[in-house]
Structure formats: structure tokens, C-alpha cells
């Protein structure tokens, strides 16, 4: 497969940074954007759902329609219609369309990054990487679908011909989060479309405008209106999609609680539903970074800090816990505390910001509650204060000395809070990782090949990063996704991902006629 990642912008160059700020001004002049409910090519009213800037609630980023169960039903109906025509096209043709959508996103890179800065308070570096990842998903799955269409080689015996191929499932419901407002909806949608399914996309209520940009690119590149619907809205629209007996695949990325609900609801198989639903799920994590006694702390400290606090800890891959060998725990805690204390919490649009606001007030309150618990049950070793002002700012916090039973150590906080735990040795660290219900990402800093091998063997996580940060998985390079309660084990951006969206079919033909093989 000849795939190359879309290069991220070289933000260390001043003219590049200036071009982004110009892109932001141009976008600001056009706000609020309008995001209609889009079903079968019909645009509904763009009203009912407001998307605002997490850094400044008075800035309206988009006015979106609000789809409910009725719109969900209509979208599935259209998708059923659309799936026939779309699935009948050869994979190479579908791939050309997806590649065309990638080109459209590429043309709008600055604007789309700026949109994420405003709609999700995603800092520039992250916002740009998100747009690139969306482009990567389109190109990667386009190539993968063409390969998949060739089927798999089977063992052949005289007198019979065995073939195995993959066909689309039908209608895919894609339920996407806000934290990768373009890349994740794009990845799930592109995979489903590349494999020949029709898609109904329900983006997070916090990021309808980014999802709309994606749908525009796909329609513009030639995805038929019936084969792709956009349902901005709240949970009720998503729940209606999951329950709809005409849906074949549900692709979900989001919280563990909702993920579990979806798995349960999708398992409900009413008599009128002639198939089992497939769920492709990516959910939460409680990601641990193990720091061995021989770790290079000059490297470990900045990598851990970025993994935990980049985008305010709001990535499923973000580091939430550090498990440090007691021999170097004092030094690591001191250096981490110092590094957290100098973080700058501020607006996402400022290049100087390390920690942007969290997505909304609900998130801010949740993080505050966990921070209070951390102070009560252990201690706060460092804190970088949030600026005053109206945004949903949460301070960056380093917590230490918490008992293993603390919810701060076991539940997903999804915010700028990192907890350090001391362990007597690597096995104790692995035991802790093993005791958690999540298994998404993990980190290890060690300079001992033996220790690395031991941790690799014992790690249940989907993505283990050795001597580097735990975030920033690249399409094709680090297929991404968790195990245990963190997900269904499908690996986004990897060679197996499309398998979640197809049905395998095997044909065995007897080639004997009157005892003679006729081939």
C-alpha cells in the first residue's frame, strides 16, 4: 500500500503561524456558521442547537439543527435507499471519491484548523494534526478498501474453487465525539463508506460545524446524498439510531458509559431485525505511564507533561497516571511538579498556551470535583492556575500520594489532572495496570531492554508507547484502539479496521463434471 501521512504544518516557522492567525480572522468574520440537519440531500433548518467557544461562551460558533428520533428514522430510510447504489460501485470508484474528499479538506486546512480552535478550544498544533488525521483516514481507507475487495487467498484442492470476499453490511450509524471533531467522525465515516456502506453521522452536540465540513467535503466529492446523512443533535438522536432495526453497524467513539449502553442496546435483536448488529467501539481509558528506575528523566518529564496536559487531557490516549519506581520517585515528582507549575493555561488561539479550556462547564465541574477529591485523599504537588474570565478553564494539576482505592486513580477524569503513584518495582506497576478495567494506551520509560520486554509481555493495553509520549497516534503507523472496557479491539488507521464494516462471504464451487475437473 503506498500511503504517506499528510505532513503537519511546521508551526516553528513564524510565517506558518501567521497564516493560521489570518485563517482565524477570516473564520471569525463568518461566524456563526449554519449547520442544517441533512437527510437525502434535503437541508432542514439550522436551529435548535448552539455551538459556542469553550474559551468564550459569548461567541456563537455555529447554529445547528437539532435532529431527534424522527429525523433519525428518516435518515436511516434514506440510507437504506442510498446503500444499494453506493455498494454496487467498485471499491476503486468509491476510493476515488474519498480521495477527492481528502483533497477538499486539504484545500481548507487553515480554515478547518481554525474552526476547531473556536468550536472545541483545540490548540493549533492539535487542531492542525486533527485535520491531517482526517485526510489520512480518507486516503488510507480508500487504499485499504481496494485491497480488501480482492478478498483473501484460501487453500485450494483439486476439483473445487474456494473464494473469500468481503461485502458491505448496509447502513452504518456513526456516533462521534467532540475531542477530535473532524478526524474521528471522518475516520469512522470514511471506513464505513470505503467499505461500501451508507452512513448516518451523528456528531457530538459540541462540534456540529466540524462534522458539517466533513459531510460537505464528502458530498462535494461525489458521495450520493442518500448515502450520507448528517444529524446534528443530542443523545436522543444517537439512541434512536442505535435502536433502529435497519442499522447494521454502529461505530461509536466516546465515553465508556455511553459505549456500554450502546453495546447493550445494539445487542437487543427484535424479531423484525434480520441481522445481528455489529458495534465498533472506542471508549475511555485510564492510561498509565510507567517510569523505571533507569529512565531518562530529561526525556520523560516533557513527554509525560505533554501527554497529560496537551489539549487539557481531553484525549482518550492522554496520560492520567504515572507509576514511578520508588528509587527515582522524589526526583521525578519534583521535576514534574516544576514542569506543571510553569504550564500556561489560556486561550487555544494563543500559540503560547499549553493548556486550553476544557470543552464545557459540565467538564470543568467534573474536573474540579476530582481535583477536590485528590486534595482530600492525597495531595496537590503542583497547580497551574487558570486565567480569570468566562471560559471553561480548569487548572492543570499534579496529584500525589493517593490511595489505590481513590476514584481519582480508577475513573476517567478526561481533564488536566495527572496523578503520580510510587511503586516498589516494575511488577507492582504492571499489577496496577492489570487491575484497571481499561486498556487503551500505556507508556513506559526505561533504558533496559529486559524491562521493556517484561512490560510489553504484561501490558493489556491496545497501544503501548516506549520512551515517548502516549498521544499522537498516526494513521498507518500506530493503528489505534483499546482493549478490555476501552473498546472493541478494532484498530483505527490500521490494516484490520475495515473488517468491522463488512461481511465475509465464502463461495465454494465444485468444478468437477462427470468426474473430470473442468478448470
Amino acid at each position: 500500500m503506498s500511503f504517506a501521512n499528510e505532513p503537519v504544518l511546521e508551526l516553528r516557522r513564524a510565517p506558518v503561524r501567521e497564516s493560521l492567525l489570518e485563517g482565524l480572522s477570516a473564520l471569525d468574520a463568518r461566524l456563526p456558521l449554519e449547520v442544517p440537519v441533512l437527510v437525502g440531500g434535503e437541508a432542514g433548518a439550522a436551529a435548535g442547537l448552539d455551538s459556542t467557544d469553550p474559551g468564550d461562551p459569548s461567541r456563537l460558533v455555529a447554529r445547528a439543527g437539532r435532529a431527534g428520533p424522527a429525523e433519525a428514522a428518516a435518515a436511516v430510510e434514506a440510507a437504506e435507499r442510498g446503500s444499494g447504489e453506493w455498494s454496487s460501485r467498485p471499491a476503486a470508484e468509491r476510493a476515488r471519491v474519498l480521495s477527492g474528499a481528502a483533497a477538499r479538506l486539504r484545500e481548507r486546512r487553515l480554515e478547518l484548523a481554525a474552526l476547531q480552535v473556536r468550536e472545541c478550544a483545540k490548540p493549533w498544533r492539535e487542531a492542525d494534526a486533527d485535520v491531517c488525521e482526517a485526510i489520512d483516514f480518507l486516503e488510507y481507507y480508500a487504499l485499504a478498501a481496494v485491497e480488501l475487495e480482492e478478498g483473501r487467498a484460501l487453500v485450494q484442492a483439486p476439483g473445487e474453487r474456494n473464494t473469500m470476499r468481503y461485502v458491505p453490511r448496509g447502513v452504518a450509524a456513526v456516533i462521534a465525539p467532540w475531542n477530535f471533531p473532524l478526524a474521528i467522525p471522518c475516520g469512522m465515516t470514511a471506513a464505513a463508506l470505503a467499505a461500501g456502506n451508507a452512513v448516518v453521522l451523528k456528531p457530538a452536540e459540541q462540534s456540529p460545524a466540524s462534522a458539517h465540513a466533513l459531510v460537505e467535503a464528502l458530498h462535494g466529492a461525489g458521495v450520493p446524498p442518500d448515502a450520507l446523512a448528517l444529524l446534528p443533535g443530542h443523545g436522543d438522536a444517537g439512541a434512536a439510531l442505535v435502536a433502529d432495526p435497519r442499522v447494521h453497524v454502529v461505530a461509536f467513539t466516546g465515553s465508556s458509559a455511553v459505549g456500554l449502553e450502546i453495546v447493550r442496546a445494539a445487542a437487543e435483536t427484535p424479531d423484525a431485525q434480520p441481522h445481528l448488529k455489529r458495534v465498533v467501539a472506542e471508549t475511555g481509558g485510564k492510561n498509565c505511564v510507567i517510569v523505571d528506575a533507569d529512565a531518562d528523566l530529561d526525556e520523560a518529564v516533557p513527554e509525560i507533561v505533554y501527554s497529560a496536559f496537551g489539549y487539557a487531557g481531553q484525549k482518550c490516549s492522554a496520560a492520567a497516571r504515572v507509576l514511578v519506581h520508588e528509587a527515582i520517585a522524589d526526583t521525578l515528582e519534583e521535576r514534574l511538579a516544576g514542569a506543571v507549575a510553569v504550564l500556561r493555561v489560556g486561550q487555544a488561539e494563543r500559540f503560547a498556551t499549553d493548556v486550553p479550556p476544557v470543552i464545557d462547564e459540565e467538564a470543568r465541574e467534573r474536573v474540579a470535583a476530582y481535583t477536590a477529591a485528590a486534595a482530600r485523599e492525597g495531595g496537590i504537588a503542583a497547580r497551574a492556575e487558570a486565567p480569570p474570565g468566562g471560559g471553561s478553564f480548569a487548572p492543570a494539576v499534579l496529584a500525589t500520594g493517593l490511595p489505590e482505592s481513590s476514584p481519582v486513580l480508577r475513573e476517567e477524569v478526561f481533564g488536566p489532572l495527572l496523578a503520580v503513584t510510587r511503586v516498589p518495582d516494575l511488577d507492582a506497576a504492571c499489577d496496577i495496570v492489570d487491575s484497571l478495567p481499561f486498556a487503551l494506551t500505556g507508556g513506559l520509560f526505561s533504558r533496559s531492554p529486559g524491562a521493556v520486554e517484561r512490560v510489553v509481555r504484561r501490558s493489556p493495553v491496545g497501544n503501548l508507547y516506549v520512551n515517548r509520549g502516549t498521544t499522537g497516534a498516526m494513521v498507518g503507523r500506530q493503528p489505534f484502539g483499546g482493549n478490555r472496557r476501552s473498546g472493541s479491539g478494532s484498530k483505527a488507521g490500521g490494516p484490520d479496521y475495515l473488517l468491522g464494516f463488512v461481511e465475509p462471504r465464502v463461495v465454494t464451487e465444485n468444478t468437477m463434471r462427470h468426474g473430470i475437473p473442468v478448470e
Binding site: 513564524a14 533507569d294 530529561d298 521535576r335 511538579a337 500556561r344 500559540f351 503560547a352 533504558r447 531492554p449
Partner: protein, 441 residues
């Protein structure tokens, strides 16, 4: 000019002290030759040297060594023996002790002492032998305010210590004056990345402002002591912050009458020509006294720059063929020497061709030898320095100071450089004939 270059090159070459007169030097030379010949072994050796200060006991050290060697397919006999003894506890302790001694020995080759006070004696000895130094304080990466403050305090202490010792050194006219006037005896090199935990490639102004808070008092101190402060150049990620910081501070009225200050230009950067032009323009416009010293180097972060760019899908900011860096170095040398009325050129290289080119070009354009400073790194350029001193050139040896923990990153970089297939020193060790060593790139 090429003729004169060849003549100068051969003359310096003839003055190089014979190797092998120092048995211990020969020993680690041998280790490095082994490493240079085998990529797996080289990797194992560097990983081992790198982890040494983090090991908690001799046994721990030996275990790491055995672990790394385990990954080498073809082990030379001495290392095979090391693997065998690592099987027992007593064997590991003995192996650990031997290995630790080896690494310490290597470190001493590159590091002049653990503290500035300890460095005073060897620095004086170098001075007496005709070479000046620039002191460099090794340190771990700065990730906190406290670490930045500590580094700044160490810099100040180093300036004070050297300034106290220097007046007692004997007079060395070659080292102390050029056409612009006095050349300070005390010379300290500092790193911007050590002066602030806030260097962010995407937001250079943040690190620049924070580093300026600590750099300003150092510049004032250097001025009051009549010392020279040189700001080293690091990777491209810190380039904008570093250059802006220097020019911003030097433009402050308070610092307009000193101290003697220097910056670094890296010839391996594709943009280095334009950068040097900007520097020369600035120097011409500001007419600063004493003039800015511009140290020309090829650049020490080549692998980092290439790997980082490749991982991000960028065009590497550096030349990708060694000869391009060498040619760029010569072109920049000529620009710099041509601007010697406004800046003080310092040519920092261990490459005989690059150095001979600078000397020959300076003479060919009517310059005095005193108007060209030649710089080398301790441990890599000692022999070249001796040969240049013998030719009455002004030589400065860059001398790192620090303990092993602090110095490890530096040490590994120097070892990598010394065993790289694409280095002049490597060619020289392999016995490449002088005609080839001096051939135009």
C-alpha cells in the same frame, strides 16, 4: 587560493602530534574504532554509556551492559568474555566496576572538570601551552524554573571563578588581541534551553522572554568582569528564540557598551546563508564595540533534525549530503571573513580542509592571522589545536564542565560524532590519505 589552502593544510598536518603516545587515549580510541566498524555494537555502546549515570549499583550497570550486548549478533572476543562473567553476581560487580571505569575515562577525555573551580588548573595549563578556552557548563535538561535558576547561578559562579583566576595567567599576545583590540581571557558559552523551561518551538517569544530575565544579569556580570559570553546554538526548534533573544538584548541601551558577546551560525542549515547575511547586516548597522563574535560551525544536531523532519513529513532544514554542509561552511567562512571589519570570525571545526580554507582565505584577502579565531572541542580537537598553536594561530578550546549525570547527553553526542562514518575525524582515523582529506568538497 586553492594552492595556498593545500600548503597550509599540509603544514598543519605535518605539525599534528603523533598519536599513540598516550596509552589510555589509545585504549578508548580502540573502543571507538570497534564501535565505528559495527552499527549494532555502536548502538549497544552508546546505549550503555547513556544509561551509566542512571544505574544504581555496579551490578545494575553490568546487567544493562549484558542486556545491550545481548542484542549484538557478532561480539568481538573481549565483549564475549564480558557476557560470560555477567552470569554471576561477583562477575557482574567486577564487570560493572570495569565498565564504569571505562565510561569515566571516556568522559574525562571530553570534560575538563566537575566544577569551574576544578577546571581552573587545567585551563591555566592550556593557556600556558598557547590555547584559550571557552567554558561550557553541562547540565540536565531544564524543565522547571528552579533548574533554570540553578543554571544561571552556575554560570555566574563560573564567570566569577574564571575572572578571579585569569589575571594571574602569563601574557599570551596571540590570544589576547586582534585588530579590533583586546580579546577577553574569560570566555563562557551558555545555552538558552538551559535558561528557561519555556522554550516552545511554536511560541518562541515565551521562552525568549523568560530566558532574557536570566540572560540579562549574566551579560551585565560579564561586562563588569570584562569577560566574553557566547550563546551556543541548538536545534532548529529553538533557533528563532535564540537569535531573537541575542539581538533583542544587545540592542538594549544598557548593554550597548559590552560585554563581548558571540553567537553561532550552523552551516548545515539550508537557510544559513540568509541567516549570516542578517547577522552581518545587524553588525554593520549597530557597529557594536567590542564586535560580535560569530562562531561558524557545521551543526551538531544533524540526526535529530533529519529524523524529526522525516517523522513530520517536512523537508529537513539541513543539507542531506555531507559535502553540501562542507561547501556551505566554506561559503559562509568567506562571507564572515569578508565582514571582519564588523564581526570577529571564529571558525569551529576539526576538519583540516575547512580550517585550512579559512586560514588561506583570510590571508588571501589581506587579513592577519590574529583576526581569525580557530575553535575546537576538547577531546576531539586537541591534536589539531596543538598543531595550530605551533603555527601561532589563535586557538580556543571549548571545555565542558560538569559531572557525569549532567554530561551524558553531551558525551553521547561527541561519541556519536567521533564514530560517524561521515566525519572528518572518522576519515582521519581510518587513515584516509592527506590528498583526499584536503580535497575540495
Amino acid at each position: 587560493m586553492e594552492h595556498e589552502l593545500q600548503r597550509v593544510g599540509r603544514a598543519i598536518h605535518a605539525a599534528l602530534p603523533g598519536r599513540g603516545h598516550h596509552p589510555l587515549r589509545a585504549l578508548d580510541q580502540r573502543a571507538m574504532e570497534l564501535a565505528a566498524g559495527d552499527q549494532e555494537l555502536r548502538a549497544a555502546l552508546f546505549r550503555f554509556v547513556d544509561v551509566t549515570p542512571a544505574c544504581r549499583s555496579l551490578e545494575d550497570l553490568a546487567r544493562h551492559l549484558a542486556d545491550y550486548l545481548h542484542e549484538v549478533d557478532e561480539r568481538p572476543p573481549p565483549l564475549q568474555a564480558a557476557m560470560r562473567v555477567s552470569g554471576t553476581r561477583a562477575g557482574r560487580t567486577a564487570l560493572g566496576a570495569a565498565a564504569a571505569a571505562g565510561v569515566r575515562h571516556m568522559a574525562h577525555r571530553f570534560i575538563v572538570g566537575e566544577t569551574p573551580a576544578a577546571a581552573v588548573k587545567p585551563i591555566r595549563r592550556l593557556w600556558e601551552h598557547g590555547a584559550a578556552v571557552s567554558l561550557d557548563l553541562l547540565g540536565e535538561a531544564t524543565v522547571t524554573e528552579a533548574e533554570a535558576d540553578r543554571y544561571a547561578a552556575r554560570c555566574r559562579e563560573a564567570l566569577d571563578t574564571l575572572a578571579e583566576a585569569a589575571p594571574a595567567w602569563p601574557g599570551r599576545p596571540v590570544l589576547e588581541a586582534d585588530s579590533h583590540g583586546r580579546v577577553p581571557r574569560v570566555n563562557l558559552s551558555v545555552k538558552v534551553s538551559a535558561l528557561t523551561p519555556l522554550l516552545r518551538p511554536d511560541a518562541p517569544e515565551v521562552g525568549r522572554e523568560d530566558a532574557a530575565r536570566r540572560m540579562r544579569p549574566l551579560l551585565q556580570r560579564a561586562r563588569d568582569l570584562g569577560a566574553h559570553l557566547h550563546i551556543d546554538m541548538e536545534s532548529v526548534n529553538t533557533l528563532e528564540a535564540t537569535t531573537d533573544l541575542v539581538f533583542e538584548l544587545l540592542d538594549e541601551p544598557e548593554l550597548s557598551d559590552g560585554p563581548s558577546t558571540g553567537i553561532v551560525m550552523q552551516a548545515y542549515l539550508r537557510e544559513s546563508g540568509e541567516q549570516l547575511e542578517r547577522v552581518i547586516d545587524w553588525a554593520r548597522a549597530s557597529d557594536r564595540r567590542p564586535p560580535l563574535v560569530v562562531r561558524l560551525v557545521k551543526g551538531a544536531y544533524w540526526d535529530h533534525e533529519v529524523v524529526e523532519a522525516r517523522q513530520h513529513g517536512w523537508t529537513p532544514p539541513v543539507w542531506e549530503e555531507k559535502a553540501e554542509s562542507d561547501r556551505s561552511f566554506e561559503a559562509l567562512t568567506r562571507m564572515l571573513v569578508d565582514a571582519r571589519g564588523h564581526v570577529r570570525p571564529a571558525i569551529a571545526s576539526h576538519n583540516l580542509r575547512s580550517v585550512a580554507h579559512a586560514i588561506a582565505y583570510n590571508r588571501a584577502t589581506g587579513g592577519r592571522d590574529a583576526d581569525l579565531e580557530l575553535q575546537v572541542l576538547r577531546g576531539l580537537g586537541d591534536e589539531l589545536a596543538a598543531a595550530l598553536v605551533a603555527h601561532d594561530m589563535r586557538v580556543r578550546i571549548y571545555c565542558p564542565v560538569g559531572d557525569m549525570v549532567a554530561g551524558m547527553a553531551y558525551l553521547v553526542r561527541r561519541l556519536l560524532e567521533n564514530t560517524s562514518n561521515e566525519s572528518f575525524l572518522g576519515d582521519q582515523q581510518r587513515g584516509v590519505p592527506i590528498d583526499e582529506l584536503l580535497a575540495a568538497p
